[in-house]
């Protein structure tokens, strides 16, 4: 939240950048692989206000179960925290002989739905320019501090 309770706008990223994001699996997630094609995920549940009130009365759920089908599970397993969205989509398209564009559209929307459920987090790689700017800012800040010290 920003000043006066206004919600701050999330920084937007372009298509190219979004394809370079790296899906990282939630470390609190519990994966149940029973040998079948489907995959069961135990996702930590963040209770909202109603659940917190209900918590005074009795026990409330701490996890929610999400079941991924065969293809969903295959796509999820490709999210190893190393590969970018672009690489995952290319790998999936090659495995299933899909057109890259088709795979991209469905893959991106699937990853978005996983992120919405708290299963993965999409890590945006810092842009070179942003990094450079941050370094420069830090250096400028350090110089100012030194100048102030000298004056004192």
């Amino acid at each position: 939240m920003g000043i006066l309770g206004r919600k701050r706008k999330a920084p937007s990223i372009d298509r190219e950048q979004s394809l370079r994001t790296i899906p990282v699996v939630n470390s609190l997630l519990e994966i149940e692989d029973d040998g079948s094609d489907a995959l069961k995920l135990k996702v930590p549940f963040k209770p909202n206000r109603i659940f917190r009130i209900l918590g005074y009365i009795g026990p409330t759920p701490t996890h929610k179960m999400v079941t991924l089908d065969r293809l969903g599970a295959e796509f999820f397993k490709l999210c190893d925290g190393q590969r970018a969205v672009d690489e995952i989509i290319r790998e999936f398209a090659a495995r299933h002989k899909l057109n890259l564009r088709e795979a991209e559209l469905s893959g991106v929307s699937y990853l978005k739905s996983l992120a919405k459920r708290g299963i993965i987090v999409l890590a945006v790689p810092e842009k070179e320019a942003i990094r450079k700017e941050a370094t420069e800012n830090r250096a400028r800040h350090a110089r100012r501090k030194q100048r102030r010290k000298k004056r004192k």
Binding site: E16, L71, D86, H96, K97, R101, E102, A103, E104, S106
Partner: protein, 303 residues
Amino acid sequence: MPDGTATQPWQPFGWQAMRLEVPEEWSLSHAEGDGKSGIVRLSDSRDVRLTLQWQANGSADGVPVALEKHIAQIKREISRSPSGWQVKRETNLVNWRDRPHESYACRGESEVNGIVWFCPACKRICHAAISTGAEDGAAVARRCLKGLCDHPTDGATTWSFYGHTFSIPERFRLERPTLRTGCLEMVFRHRESLIEVVRVSLAEEVLRGVTLIEWFKTFYGRRIEDFRREITESKHRGHEALECEGEMLWHRRASVLFRPYYMRAIAWRCSEEDKLYIFRWSAIKSPANEFEKFAGKVQCHET
């Protein structure tokens, strides 16, 4: 070829009788309009790479006018852009003898090579703009335009997008394109006749636990329930296939003035490509010869 166009893989692209070869990474991202006027855009993972525009009822005199209009629009856009763009006309991009044409190039952050031409066969004024981030932009544009064909040939229109290539008779017009992930469905119409070309991806997944016939009945359920039909197993190019033939039930014929209405379809599973294909033709007369010819033109695996 000295440029890099020879090394990268290319694929055919065809839409509304426009046919050309494009780099494999470029795929359809936007389509609008019909055979008379319309626009398609092809893009790669970064940007729009090819814009094709066409307008019917043109003439050879319309080429300089159309180019002037387009360049004026470019200049308006350039004036807003902070980086210095330069527009150059008469770039001799191609040397077509059969089509009056004029080419241009815009150079700035990237390179855009364009051409406006008039096709005497289909009387359309067309415009193609090819944008490449690479240095050999003109070479890529030349290679794209080299085999460009802008009207139907041998009475057939070829469509090619997302690796899906097929031909239909020239007289049929696109009625409804449905381009969903994993399912491409194109419906064409000529008077009461209807052609449907369908491609479904992930065949292995789709046919898990069901036969091809069962899947076809579910997929086409409503559309074939008005027909007294017969479905038989067959082979198509060595693939597992089915053929469906039928006549519309008499009490359902109100839409075609109680005349007999026939339907013929073929569906097959291409294991090499992991895809399912359907070619369906509905008409007042049973489309015997043409059906065979055009069903055979739906390309699946390369061999």
